[in-house]
Amino acid sequence: MTETSGRWARLAAWFDTRLGLTYPLLRPAPRYSINPFYWLGALTVVAFLIQGVTGIMMMLYYVPSPADAFGSTQYIFQSVYYGRFLQTVHLYTAYAMIMLAFMHMMRSYFVSVYKKPREMMWVVGMVMGFVTLGFGFTGYLLPWTVVSKSATDVGIGIIDALPATISSFLSFLIVGAGGDATELLRFYDLHVVVLPAVLLVLLTVKMYMLEAHGVAEPTTGSPIEQRASRSLPIFPDVTIYLLGLAAMFGSAMLLISAIFPLSLPPMYTPQLAAQFTAQPDWYFLWIYQILKISAFEGSGLPVALGLVTLILVALLALPFIDKGSSRRIAERPIFVTIGLIFIAELFVLAYWGLESPGQVIATDDAAMILGAVALIVGTSSFALYTVFGQRGAPSPDSKEKVSKTQGKFATALAFVLLLSSGAMAIGASLNAIVRVVLYGTSASSLVQLGLSIGFLSVVAFSTVFLMYRMELAGASLKRRFDWLEIGWSANDSH
């Protein structure tokens, strides 16, 4: 074995000398960063690379003209070996890339990675997120099906509603002189050349900043613990770890594509499109739903666009809005709550948009549902902060109780059940109150009001009672959740 390994070692050394693989260009990674949460951004890049490879393979067959776009896509579907599989992988990996970018953003948001000195990393990252959405928008048109062209036409119509300078520039970029042929060619060029180039440039900038600042420290554990965390060389250790993660991600995409193969919708023709209700792809459904609210119809459209822009600008400028000094989740109740509400609203809007294609949403319905979601999520979040938030140091004997596992799972479960039923109770009470306000008192609405408030009282009492009992027992559930790096208690020295 020593002789063989000597030979391999010499071969490896040959490559190393020429390629400089072990040259310390990139700073070593700390052991705590070997955790999938730290690699969501890297996986987004892996998804992008898969898109590049599958995209290039399709580029060999695709023709970007309105007459041939659908035909060439269909050719890939039917006549290229595993062409349909290739298409399916490309679409699902696109969805995965957007999802991973979103998860990466939310993870960075919750552990506030964007605090000094990493503010610009967040800004660059947000721009990369917009570019990723641009990939989705431009790529969606290329098959030239009824579904894709209708959705894109609506999108272009919305761009026209923006203020004149912005819309004329965007129009020039996307639609050119007008006409289907120019539009398709522009979308194709953007999707295949311009956006990839922009994304790669931004990625280089972000990687450079990552090297300059290093990986953000976790929010639990002392600085001594963190410094003691061993450093792992990028080559070969961390590279191999990343390749392992990428292989798992790739396999997941392959298996999902095998289980749910795509079928091509019919080709776009104007009369088919007239019978078809346009709907954007899932990642734009939240915008679509906001735009469908009746208060924003017609002349109100710029207001809706302004609202969406405001949300995106607020996200972009977040590091300059959030000036708090702490990164721990336990010490940022407001921003964490806003984040949770944001995620919940996105899901609600997207699902609602999916279920109501083309239907205008009444303003009071929208206000009630979005308001109720915000209220439920916000209340639950604050309830969690109240229960699990900062406390004084646990007494020595309570430390022994911490090590006992008995009853802890039951307590956690009881809490989850109480909190979710509390959320439902709040929602039901809200609904009952709105009903009484809007439609006046009647026997049924008063009964509903009484029942829901009664339910709410029972849940509130049970929660308070349970908290009181836990306080007496000195139990601490925070240790269970350390791996999420939430930083429950001020007792973890920082």
Partner: protein, 219 residues
């Protein structure tokens, strides 16, 4: 050999022979993973004409043969609508009462054309001689025509639906018909040009089969 065994037995660490094995294994594993991906790339760059084995759904190479009317049910100037060759594309079949180019039946006067106007894809209607369309009472048909209400294209049903007025640049594609001994009328194909919405850069009618589900197939 003996040294290695002693090393393995006495080492407190995991054993450098295991470490070497794992290094070796890691390299082999990486090579095989790359090999697998390379095989995929290689296979996808093959193309072959579609066969039942390689494709899930294959485009029909031939037009379907679909019964669309019964000879005895037809009256002069009463159009019958049917979908062909795709299940969402309408056509009109009419018994004209005068012999027509491409007409079938004992009098050679039964014709059928795509009712998707070649101009911009509106659905037009049949106008019998002497009638006027409801959308344009000032126009009076002097022969059996198709009149499109959107922009006023007029197609002569006696002469292969050639354009006799209006902005359309191409005639309406004719549906090829056959009648059997029992009087069943079948649609068996399309004549050129291609139906509106299909590849208009050529007159290759196989383009009419693309982009949807043909009539009579299970999809």
């Amino acid at each position: 050999m003996v040294d290695k065994k002693a090393e393995e037995g006495s080492s407190v660490r995991t054993g450098s022979s295991r470490r070497n094995f794992l290094k070796f294994a890691m390299a082999i594993s990486a090579l095989l993973a790359v090999g697998g991906i390379a095989a995929v790339l290689k296979s996808i760059t093959n193309t072959a004409p579609p066969t039942a084995a390689t494709t899930g759904t294959s485009a029909p190479m031939q037009f379907p043969r679909v019964k669309v009317a019964q000879l005895n049910d037809l009256t002069i100037d009463q159009p019958i609508a049917f979908n062909y060759p795709l299940d969402n594309e309408p056509n009109i079949l009419v018994k004209l009462g005068t012999k027509a180019d491409g007409g079938i039946g004992p009098d050679g006067d039964i014709v059928a054309f795509s009712s998707i106007c070649q101009h911009l894809g509106c659905i037009y209607g049949f106008q019998s001689p002497g009638s006027s369309p409801a959308c344009n009472p000032s126009y009076k048909a002097d022969r059996p025509v198709g009149y499109c209400c959107c922009h006023g294209s007029v197609y002569d049903f006696v002469n292969k639906a050639n354009v006799i007025a209006g902005p359309s640049q191409r005639p309406q594609p004719q549906v090829l018909l056959e009648v059997d001994s029992s009087g069943n009328i079948f649609a068996t194909g399309m004549g050129p040009p291609t139906i509106f919405g299909h590849d208009t850069s050529s007159n290759d009618v196989s383009g009419d089969l693309q982009g949807g589900t043909p009539v009579g197939s299970s999809g």
